[in-house]
Point group: C2
Chain length 406, copies 2
C-alpha cells in the first residue's frame, strides 16, 4: 500500500471540480463541489445519527438505497437544514446536477454544510452548473478545488489517496473531507467523499465502510457536537478491472486495510484541524478487557474540556485525564491505571497505579509543545486497545464559535 | 418561606470559621474551613459517581453511614485525590479536627478541592487547628469566611439560607457551596455543605437530599467534567425544636420545598459562576412526554460547546440548540419543536415546527446580552418539563484551564 497524490481524482475514471457559486453574498471562497464518475458506481453511505437530519442527508439516505450513484454535488456556507424550503432545495440541487451532467436524478448524491436554519440560495447553484461542469478535471487540481469548496472553518484542505495491488491490478482509493467544528461523528462524519476504481458490490462496500468508519471517523471529536449533516459516502466504479471484491475474502481484507489507512489519515487531519486547535490529541487506551471499553475511555478523555484546555496550556495536568476516565461510565480499577504523556519530544510517565509520580516538568512541557500529544493510558487488565483523536480547546475555538453566523 | 442572611450559621446551634492555613505556598486566600454543630446531628451525604473518588469522598461515604456527625473540615488548593498518601492524609485531617474539638473522630466529615495528584500538606492543617477553633463564630461572618475557604476558581462566594414554619417552630436551612470548573455533578456536586436546625432522622434527611439534588445540583453543568470530589452534605441538629419530620408527612413536603429552593439558588449561582462565564444559561424544555426526557434534552443543550460559545458571542444561533436536542439520545419530533430565546430584555421566537423563523436581530442581541439567557424549548407532545442550568464558553474558561496548576 502506498500513499498517492490526487485525492478524489486519484482513482481512475473520476473527475472533480470546485468553484465559488455565490452561496453566501460577499464570500469569494469556493463553495460548490462536483464529483463525477465516468461510469455508474456502486455506492455506500453512512449518515449522522442526530435525530435532526439535514434535508440532503434525508435525500441521500433514500438515494443510496439503490446502491448506485454516479455523481456527488456539495456546497458549503448553508447547511440546508431546518430551513423552510430545505427538502425542496435539496431536490432542486440534485436535479440541477443531473440535468447538467445528462444523467438520472436518482444517480446524484447531495451534500451541504454551513449555517443551520437558513434557506439555501439554490438558484446560485443552478446558475453555476455550466461553469462547474466545464471545470471538471481528472487531475489533482480537480480534487483540490472540490476539497476547498466543502471547507467552512477548516484551515487546511483534507485530501489523501492510497493505492495497492488486488488480483494483479492496481486499485486506488482517494478522498476529501471537511470538518472542524460540530465534530463528534456518530456514524459517518461531517462531510467525507471517497472514490475508488475498485470493483466491489454495494453490500460489501457498505460493510467495509461501516467497519472502517467505526474505528476512524467515529473515534474523533472536536467539541462533542454531533452535526445534523454528517455524511460519509464512497463511490466505486470498478475501472481498476480487478475481480470484484467479496466479503470474507483475502481481497476484502486488503481493500479494508487500505480504506482504514485512508480514513484514519483523513480523520486525524480533521481532529488536528479542529476549530482553533493547536494540538492533535491522541488518546490510546491499552491492556483493556475489551475494545469497546477502551474506546469509551479514550473518547471520554479526548472529549474532556478540562483535558483539552490543559493540553492547550501545555500543562501536564494528568488528574483531569484520570478524572475523565472515571466519569466515562466504564468499569475499571483506577488503582491499576498508568498514564503517560508522549510525543516526538519524549515520554513522561505521570501516574502509576492511580497515583501521581514525580516527573520532570521541563521535559513534560517539551512533550506537550509538540503538534501531536499522545495520552497513553494502560489499564493492566487485558489485551485490547483503542485509539481516539481530538484536539485542544483554545481561545480561537471560542472566537470562531462566538460569532460564526456573522 | 423566606430568604435569610447568614449562610451556614443561619440555623441555630452552628458555628463556622475559615482562614488561610498555607495549604499552597504563597497563596493568601482562605483555604481551610470548619463547620461545627453544638450538638450531635443527623447527617446525610451524596457523593460523586465518578469511578475515581478522592480520599475524603471515600472516607465520608463510610463516616456518613452512621447517620451522625458533628463537624465538617474542608480545604481548598489540593483535592487530596490520586496522591501517594491521600487516605492517610484524609484520616489525619479528620483526627486533627476531632482532637481540636474534643469530639469523636467518627463525627467529623472531611472535604477537599483543588489540584488532583498532589499530596496534601496536612501538617499545615494540623498547625492551623488552634487558630481555626478560636475563629469559630455563629455570626454571618463565620459562614462568610468558611465559604471563602472552599473557593478555588470561583469568583463569588456562594451562601444562602431560608427559614420557614414547621409545627409552630421556625426552622432554618443554610448552605455554602463552591464550584466553578469540573462541574457536571452526578449525585452531589463539587462541595456543598448545608446545615439545619430541623429535627429529622437520617433516613428521611437522605431521602429529601437525594430528591432535591436530582432536580437542582444534578441539573447544572459548566464543562461536562464530573469531578472526583463532588460532595453534598447536610447536618441537622434538631435545635429548632419541631416534632421530627417524617417521610410522607405534610412537614416533609414543607421541608423538602424549602431545601429545594435553597439548593436551586445555590446551583444557579454555581452555574452562573462557571469558570470564565459571562452568562447563566437556563434551558427549559416543556410540553414533553416525561420529565426524564425533558431533562436529557435540556442537559444536552446546556452541555453543547457550540451553543455555549454562541451565547458568549450573543449570537442567536438556534440551529445549534436544535442540533444539541437532536444528538441528546432522546426520541422527539424535530418538526414539532419550537425554540425561543428569553431574558429580561424580551422574548424572541426563532424556530417554529423545526424551521427557522425570521426574527429581529437587534432584539435578539439585546435578549442575549442579559446576564441570564433562557432557552425555551417546547415539544408540543405532553405535559412534563425540566429546567437545567449551565453557562457560556468564554476565552476566560480556556485561560483559567490552560494554566490551572501554575
Amino acid at each position: 500500500m502506498e500513499w498517492k497524490e490526487g485525492g478524489i481524482t486519484a482513482a481512475k475514471g473520476f473527475r472533480a471540480a470546485g468553484m465559488n457559486a455565490g452561496i453566501r453574498p460577499g464570500k469569494t471562497k469556493n463553495d460548490l463541489a462536483l464529483i463525477v464518475s465516468d461510469s455508474l458506481c456502486t455506492a455506500a453511505g453512512l449518515f449522522t445519527r442526530n435525530k435532526v437530519k439535514a434535508a440532503p442527508v434525508l435525500l441521500d439516505i433514500e438515494t443510496v438505497k439503490s446502491g448506485k450513484a454516479k455523481a456527488i454535488i456539495a456546497n458549503s456556507g448553508i447547511a440546508n437544514a431546518c430551513a423552510p424550503h430545505d427538502m425542496e432545495n435539496a431536490l432542486k440541487m440534485q436535479k440541477a446536477a443531473a440535468d447538467a451532467l445528462g444523467i438520472d436524478q436518482a444517480e446524484v448524491l447531495v451534500g451541504s454544510t454551513g449555517v443551520i436554519g437558513v434557506d439555501l440560495n439554490v438558484s446560485a447553484i443552478e446558475n453555476a452548473m455550466p461553469e462547474l461542469i466545464s471545470l471538471l478535471s481528472d487531475e489533482a487540481s480537480g480534487s483540490d478545488e472540490a476539497a476547498k469548496a466543502i471547507m467552512t472553518t477548516d484551515t487546511v484542505k483534507k485530501e489523501q489517496a492510497v493505492s495497492f495491488e488486488l488480483d494483479g491490478k492496481t486499485v486506488t482509493i482517494g478522498g476529501i473531507s471537511k470538518g472542524s467544528g460540530m465534530i463528534h461523528p456518530n456514524m459517518g462524519t461531517m462531510l467525507c467523499y471517497l472514490t475508488t476504481d475498485c470493483a466491489i458490490d454495494a453490500m460489501t462496500l457498505k460493510k467495509a465502510l461501516k467497519e472502517v468508519c467505526d474505528v476512524t471517523f467515529n473515534r474523533i471529536s472536536v467539541d462533542g457536537d454531533t452535526s445534523t449533516n454528517d455524511s460519509l459516502i464512497i463511490l466505486a466504479n470498478g475501472t481498476a478491472g480487478n475481480t470484484p471484491v467479496e466479503e470474507g475474502s483475502a481481497d476484502y481484507d486488503i481493500f479494508k486495510d487500505a480504506l482504514k489507512s485512508l480514513c484514519t489519515d483523513l480523520a486525524r487531519r480533521m481532529a488536528a484541524d479542529g476549530e482553533g486547535a493547536k494540538h492533535l490529541i491522541t488518546c490510546k487506551v491499552s491492556e483493556c478487557e475489551s475494545e469497546e471499553k477502551a474506546e469509551l475511555l479514550a473518547k471520554s478523555v479526548i472529549g474532556s474540556s478540562l483535558t483539552k484546555a490543559a493540553v492547550f496550556g501545555c500543562d501536564a495536568n494528568w488528574g483531569r485525564v484520570l478524572c475523565a476516565l472515571g466519569y466515562s461510565g466504564a468499569d475499571f480499577d483506577p488503582l491499576k491505571t498508568d498514564i503517560a504523556f508522549v510525543s516526538e519530544a519524549g515520554c513522561v510517565p505521570v501516574c502509576k497505579d492511580g497515583k501521581g509520580l514525580a516527573f520532570d516538568e521541563d521535559l513534560a512541557l517539551k512533550v506537550l509543545q509538540e503538534a501531536e500529544v499522545i495520552i497513553d493510558v494502560n489499564l493492566h487488565e487485558g489485551n485490547e486497545e483503542a485509539i481516539c483523536w481530538g484536539c485542544d480547546l483554545t481561545y480561537d475555538y471560542v472566537k470562531i464559535n462566538g460569532d460564526y453566523r456573522t
